[in-house]
């Protein structure tokens, strides 16, 4: 799973997809996940980073991460490998 490399990401949580013209806004955790994806991290790496940083149960993290990934896919921001 890879982030669509053509998309532009600003530091303060905005995403622009030049292929579709869509803009998005992310909350802090959303921004963090997208940045990690952009730097080539795998979902497992991301889980590890977030569990270390946040007070969150692994199961709950997994559940919301899965949700977020499907939102990214729905918005054409992720490419299936």
């Amino acid at each position: 799973m890879k982030l669509n490399q053509s998309i532009a990401i600003s530091e303060n949580g905005f995403i622009f997809n030049p292929a579709t013209g869509d803009s998005f806004t992310l909350n802090n955790t959303g921004m963090q996940v997208v940045s990690l994806l952009k730097s080539g991290k795998t979902i497992d790496d991301i889980k590890e980073t977030l569990t270390a940083e946040y007070d969150v149960d692994t199961m709950i993290l997994e559940r919301y991460l899965q949700d977020f990934i499907s939102d990214l896919k729905r918005n054409n921001l992720l490419l299936e490998e």
């Binding site: 998005f24 992310l26 802090n28 996940v33 940083e53 919301y64 990214l72």
Partner: protein
């Protein structure tokens, strides 16, 4: 190092130039405390969901309403509308503040009596009074508000058969320029029915004609309607004085003052559009004072305000059970407060706030209750922060009608607590159990 609080990641598509009906989606501030007590702690102690009432807010509302009227008019009496909320503890707060009881059934009448209210401080409204209830109310000196001619004749028969006199008033319906026009209760003003009823009452020596009552509707958002109603009732009172040299003791303006909740589909928030008590008071008192009634014979004004006195004193706190993404992309939250507990969600876009802070981002969300029923929707659409499973929220202004029109449906009803003026909490209705629900059921022998 202490770990950070986890907010579930969200992404929201921006649609410049095409704001949704919610506009840009303002951040929703958390409501953490009610009367200085942490909502999360109350939920932990008393369970979720939880009805929470504030005694201070109730007392303040009564004081505000009283002040608005008494600065403009010499005689004002509030009668607590039992059907709005007849939990005994709530009623007793109103009675401690001097409110009479306004009841619409034998059940409510008995509840008021149990709460220590004498018959002569009970206003007995409603279209369905039985012979036994009428007799009891007449004997105890309650104000019986006659709804229709059949009740008038029934009461006459009851008084004659038992040799009692009854203190009566009539309910009058009329056109006050608003829609819907309520004409199913009482006698009509415009077609002369009300005047006819008054004449029949005045002709019966076992009736003491005490007053005139109207209830023009519910959630009335214009004070002008009350001015028209008060003015028409005053004309009737003046006509009675002229013809019979009889001065009625009171004009009862019923209820119907709007609370600050926002009606479903309303463009503007109820907080901006609801008239103040002062506006209602000004309309009603000036209509009566400016009428043909002689200044030394002014009747008392009785107010049966329910909703506007209790709505913002009650809240329901609850917990998120699940989150979902709907096929149209909207976020859905499933919470443990259903329409069985929040009947008013059919009428209002209730204000809902999380109990914890979130980043400013909100997304379009549907809030569903836990019932396995398609109608169980608390808010069909609002901009809401990304709450996680197990997080808490509080729904404000739920004090009116939800503890009387609630349904024991699919599940049991939770605890109701009162926060007193010293910030002590009291359970005023215990959570139901399966035993309390089935205690009235009986199983025939062949099914045992």
């Amino acid at each position: 190092m202490e770990k950070k609080v986890f907010e579930r990641p969200t992404i929201t598509k921006l649609t410049p130039g095409m704001p949704s009906k919610h506009g840009s989606g303002a951040a929703i501030a958390p409501i953490r405390y009610i009367e200085g007590l942490k909502i999360d702690d109350l939920l932990e102690k008393y369970g979720s969901p939880l009805y929470i009432f504030s005694e201070s807010v109730i007392r303040k509302n009564i004081e505000d309403l009283k002040r608005s009227f008494t600065v403009r008019y010499p005689k004002v009496q509030i009668a607590w509308s039992y059907k709005t909320n007849y939990l005994d503890a709530i009623c007793r707060i109103f009675h401690q503040e001097g409110s009479w009881a306004e009841v619409v059934s034998g059940f409510e009448y008995d509840k008021a009596r149990r709460n220590g209210i004498p018959g002569e401080h009970i206003i007995f409204n409603g279209p369905g009074k039985t012979e036994a209830e009428l007799l009891k109310a007449a004997k105890e000196g309650a104000y019986i508000h006659i709804d229709h001619f059949d009740e008038l004749f029934l009461l006459a028969k009851v008084c004659q058969a038992n040799n009692v006199t009854a203190r009566v008033a009539i309910r009058v319906n009329m056109d006050v320029g608003i829609y819907p026009k309520w004409d199913r209760f009482g006698f009509n003003y415009e077609n002369g029915e009300a005047w006819d009823a008054i004449n029949r009452i005045m002709a019966n020596p076992q009736f003491k004609f005490m007053g005139l009552h109207t209830h023009i509707g519910t959630y009335i958002m214009t004070a002008e309607a009350y001015r028209i109603a008060a003015s028409k009732l005053s004309e009737l009172a003046a006509a009675v004085a002229q013809k019979f040299n009889h001065y009625i003791a009171y004009i009862d303006m019923g209820g119907g003052f709007a609370s600050r909740n926002t009606l479903r589909g309303a463009y503007l928030s109820g907080e901006d559009t609801t008239p103040s008590f002062d506006e209602y008071a000004d309309a009603i008192t000036s209509a009566i004072i400016n009428s043909q009634i002689k200044p030394d014979k002014l009747p008392a004004i009785i107010l049966e305000t329910g909703r506007a006195l209790i709505d913002d004193a009650g809240s329901i706190a609850g917990t998120v059970i699940a989150t979902k993404r709907l096929t149209d992309g909207r976020r859905a939250l499933i919470v443990d407060v259903g329409v069985n507990l929040l009947f008013t969600s059919f009428w209002y876009d209730h204000k809902i706030n999380p109990t914890q802070a979130h980043s400013g981002l909100v997304e379009e969300t549907v809030i569903y209750g836990p019932l396995c029923m398609n109608i169980d929707v608390i808010r069909p659409s609002l901009m809401f922060p990304p709450l996680k499973v197990g997080e808490h929220f509080v729904i404000s202004r739920t004090g009116a009608y939800n503890n009387t029109q609630w349904l024991q449906f699919i599940t049991t009803r939770p605890n109701v607590i009162l926060i007193d003026t010293n910030r002590q909490t009291h359970v005023i209705r215990n959570a139901e159990t399966i035993d309390s629900i089935v205690s009235n059921e009986q199983i025939p022998d062949h099914l045992k």
